[in-house]
Symmetry: C3
Subunit: 252 residues, 3 copies
Amino acid sequence: PDASAGVAVMRFNNPPVNTLSLEFLTELVISLEKLENDKSFRGLIITSDRPGVFSAGLDLREMCGRSPAHYAEYWKAVQELWLRLYQSSLVLVAAINGACPAGGCLMALTSDHRILADNPKYSIGLNETLLGIVAPFWFKDTLVNTIGHRAAERALQLGLLFPPAQALQVGIVDQVVPEERVQSVALSAIAQWMAIPDHARQLTKAMMRKATASRLITHRDEDVQNFVSFISRDSIQKSLQLYLERLKQKKG
Amino acid sequence: PDASAGVAVMRFNNPPVNTLSLEFLTELVISLEKLENDKSFRGLIITSDRPGVFSAGLDLREMCGRSPAHYAEYWKAVQELWLRLYQSSLVLVAAINGACPAGGCLMALTSDHRILADNPKYSIGLNETLLGIVAPFWFKDTLVNTIGHRAAERALQLGLLFPPAQALQVGIVDQVVPEERVQSVALSAIAQWMAIPDHARQLTKAMMRKATASRLITHRDEDVQNFVSFISRDSIQKSLQLYLERLKQKKG
Amino acid sequence: PDASAGVAVMRFNNPPVNTLSLEFLTELVISLEKLENDKSFRGLIITSDRPGVFSAGLDLREMCGRSPAHYAEYWKAVQELWLRLYQSSLVLVAAINGACPAGGCLMALTSDHRILADNPKYSIGLNETLLGIVAPFWFKDTLVNTIGHRAAERALQLGLLFPPAQALQVGIVDQVVPEERVQSVALSAIAQWMAIPDHARQLTKAMMRKATASRLITHRDEDVQNFVSFISRDSIQKSLQLYLERLKQKKG
């Protein structure tokens, strides 16, 4: 983490594409907890150290051919990451310097400000339906809060990945800038947010996000059970397996 | 109904202007029920077979000079149509090839995608206040979900009917196309939605719409009672009668 | 109050900058109550008689160096003004002919239609965080209803004051017009709203605003207690005192 003026920078580096494996999720949560407790930091920029991808999202290998207990453990870790990020008392800025689908998009959506590199290959969205799976209600709530009910309904059903110009227009990101300027613009943006008195800003942020976060906190166990029973279905397992095999062939 | 690639087309044909009489509502609900249960259909286009009008909306003759029992029966049928359409597991596309006020607009708002013919005479909106009546809360909820709270507050109070360009801008429709292309664009649009795995799309749609549908389901009887007591008022009956007489004179 | 065609005009005149002192709040509430009960008025334009400022908002002197009982009395009066304005059965139009921060913006947000004079000095927004304080949940709800969740989250955290062009773009006002035309445009706008049958318009307005108003009504005492305990904190009192002293020096 950098420390220029109280700003930490978290550079995702889980080769090849920053997939959110259980191990990587756990690391992220621990790092976030440390930063929250370290009074020398008031802001955090999340970005990628892997070329061309911010994060490929959830790790299908954690959701395929494993035990129900493993699925439950994995899902709790995903919930935990979202709760930490969405309720962070730090100013959170996403410097999105690569493709940003599914779980990658979810992380970006928890930020206070989102900057996307202007590269047609870098699209952003919750594309779960394309894989035959369903974004849970708290992914949905986070998206509705960001782009509104109608745009979210359309984006979630169609599994839309928005390229930069469309992403800006629908409001899923706040700025689109040339790729080489993403980091410097992120620093300027976070400076604007850090100019606000911390206490007032944090209370305001908590007020805005409380209802949405509480909904998951209240239904956490139920949400784990839903995930485990959904992902354990034969039809879902088959379609995930097919998808993983196709991915392997692409690389091979 | 057509069957090209799993798409049914429902062409409203209740002369002269597709008014939602009790009989027509009942027919629509039965047709929808059949389509939902027919596995050969995955998508439905609703459009009009009457020139110049999609649907004139609720039938004032069912709401004027009849018994409370009739008003209750009529209102239950309106509720039933909305619940069927809004919660349909089919992909629903509205090919709006004519004027689309009040109850016509309500049907369009239940769709997954709305295409309006680019004709200045074809406006769309919930214009109930202009007749001295009030859209019920579930009409309001459907509109808020589509265009947001502020735009809905303004549109509902002023009884706004949006001509094509304004309709597109406020987001009450998704596309405005030349009149002769409405049907072909509807087919292209529905193909995009039908490319998504059904099960994931249906669960996502249900998740997006559940809270809104549940609100009516929970308060269904109360909503019928409200309607019956409101519509039975002398002042409302008088103003509906006046309106109906003016309509007759226009035609005569 | 003017009476041309049932329109009252309330011109704020509490020198120098229409600060919402306890006395001024009480006067406003009494005037509103009278207007609501006077059947000769169906619409109300709120505007300023002070040059360059619509209203500077809440009176920090009522919130600084006083007793808890005074803070409670003051806050109840702020709640009362908002409840009266937000639930008014009159058509309410804001002719914003000057700067419109914080509590001034709150009053404007309760209107059915907002017109801002096109002067770069006249910005509008809820800038509480800049003073180290937090807008209460009902200020927040009113803003979210007007500009949506994401824009409100950003505006409230950053304490944004929108100059005219930005105010129009984000939707916090409905029209921006040359300064000399604010009053005449307000009269035209209110005429459009008053053309709608009163009863239907009022029921529709109540339906749109009920949930938001009820939230404060239900938590009114709790909200007073929160305000009193927050504003009584040493750190808040110190920062308000500093701010007031700086204001005095500016003038001196």
